[in-house]
Symmetry: C2
Subunit: 397 residues, 2 copies
Amino acid sequence: MKFSTKVEKCGLSPMRKFHPYAVAAREKGRTIYHLNIGQPDIETPKAYFDAVGAFSQKVLEYAPSGGVPELVAAVQHYYAKLGISYAADEILITTGGSEALQIAMNCILDDGDEILIPEPFYPNYSTMVWTCGASIRPIPTKPEEGYHFADRAKIEAAITDRTRAILVTNPGNPTGTVLTAEEMAMLVDIAVEHDLFLIGDEAYREFVYEDGAPLQSFGSYEKGREHIIVIDTVSKRFSACGARVGCLLSHNAEFLAHAMKYCQCRLSVATLDQVAAAALYSVDEGYFAAVREEYKRRRDTVVAGLQRIEGVVCECPKGAFYLMAALPVDDADKFQQWLLEEFEDRGETVMFAPGEPFYGTAGKGKNEIRIAYVLQEAKLRRAMELLRLGIERYNQR
Amino acid sequence: MKFSTKVEKCGLSPMRKFHPYAVAAREKGRTIYHLNIGQPDIETPKAYFDAVGAFSQKVLEYAPSGGVPELVAAVQHYYAKLGISYAADEILITTGGSEALQIAMNCILDDGDEILIPEPFYPNYSTMVWTCGASIRPIPTKPEEGYHFADRAKIEAAITDRTRAILVTNPGNPTGTVLTAEEMAMLVDIAVEHDLFLIGDEAYREFVYEDGAPLQSFGSYEKGREHIIVIDTVSKRFSACGARVGCLLSHNAEFLAHAMKYCQCRLSVATLDQVAAAALYSVDEGYFAAVREEYKRRRDTVVAGLQRIEGVVCECPKGAFYLMAALPVDDADKFQQWLLEEFEDRGETVMFAPGEPFYGTAGKGKNEIRIAYVLQEAKLRRAMELLRLGIERYNQR
């Protein structure tokens, strides 16, 4: 039986393949420090569960396709506080940032089209782009340069007549890089000049670790406002990944009309989660300050740990809760498998995400890993110690 | 700026266009009886809200991409009671039946492919199919024949070398038709013989109004089990449309592997709604018997009301909570607008869904309407009276 050629190009999650090895390791009694997934351990604000408990409608009805008005208003207010003005009908609530991305790409990309994405990038982008019949043209970076991609010449060199959009994750997953205001303006400029959409996946907006740094968004650029699409979500902002509530923001009426077709086609986003997500926006600044402080300490712990390992290349990232590092090993994939099958120190081992699946260019990222620093400091310290010991022994085999 | 040619083919919801007229009518003080939407008024079982309230995890985490184990087990158990055996990994939990349909179509349909769907059909199917780059080939029906489509010669005549699947909604939306066991077997037979997928959208399974009729599913057919994909949802079964919890069931390992790529790409379905949906499956048989009895009475009320109107063509439908009828008017669309702008009886008027958008064949359904009988009996009686008066006066203008 035939399947779509588009889905046939896609793969299952590359992270999944280590799952059986992790299960086997646990069965042998190993403790595994999981730095391989971006699931935060921070508690979801109580406001969420309170709102869910206070829901009093007897019939759990479809929500409006564009979102429940109280959530749209909450998002609108959040952006207004950043000095960014979106009308209510310029905000479409989506099932997580993932759906916002899928809808945006599906509206823009046709068969044979290209989208520029700095590599390494979030691996799900590949499935999203391929299922549109399009392809990713990676903007190349290097670990030695802290994965810096915002270079005008480098980006413009990648633009072809099939390029429709530039997608950047800022703050970055998997690299933790954060754009400067000048770099953001330059990207807007490129989008306008080459008549491209500029999609800003800003899921990690609150996670920037420079003291006093203002929250950034491509939504704040007046020039090229029709070109800019912002992807947002409550997942990381409020440690509410399981709510599956995100949104799509744009000033482009034609784009919004197309996106609404997708929204209507899937009817609505879960009603209760939207009501509860609206309540999350009432959380005060103190929440973010505390979370930011916590992640900053964790980042510093991981970076300090990595710097203690000879041969590791890792610039200190400025945001998100990830970092990429190049290891002094032949193959991070083999190394991960070895860590699960052969290695242990006092019954413990460590898991990260091998770097290759984060690249669009074949063969790149082979000795790199992504670390999600979603564990408490003491555990992170031990995990870095295990990584150091692992590398040592792996290279002495 | 360019958009995808696929999304450009799609339209916004045809139901939406009457929204401003309805608002204007309400502003003039009119009461509107809404028979135009499929949002049931039946209360969602308390089990849902109890489960939500009892959720005690402090971090609202991503659920597994294929669904939370307790919900998968609940679905598995529900099917086992129908005598149908699905392994846990043959069930993928989705964001409503809509996502299950989108994933299924995206896995199967390529650019230029065709899918057979009896017309009239659920209008969102068009967006789902067009965004795959494919097209719908309608299986034609007639109001005078009760929209009966399950005729082997008629279906086989529509199969081309680009046909990849047959999609049937059973019980039917918008027609309320219910297939016989022989017709279902015949459809399975066609799918096997022509090497097609057979997608059964069985959202309304519980809503069949023949006394003692067993619950049907294409999942019960052993022959051709690799060809059969079942779409399911808690939306109508438990009057929980806003939960956005559905599922995709199949015995085809290759199909499931492709579908999982989509599931992983959007990470997961809302966690809390899945936990609560699992609790819904504990509702006892009495719930369904009462709901079925209620809808049966409503159907009979609407059908009796329609039979009192001269020139209306409507066979009594056997299931779901919809029916299609041909009216003695020139154009149901114009008639609906007139009902909102010009008509009133004691300050009241009525809304239905004009039939044309339910057809894939241009020009068909012009004098037809879809009625969703989601109001209580007394209101339905009055709505039918308003329809009768409206037709009379409309034709006397």
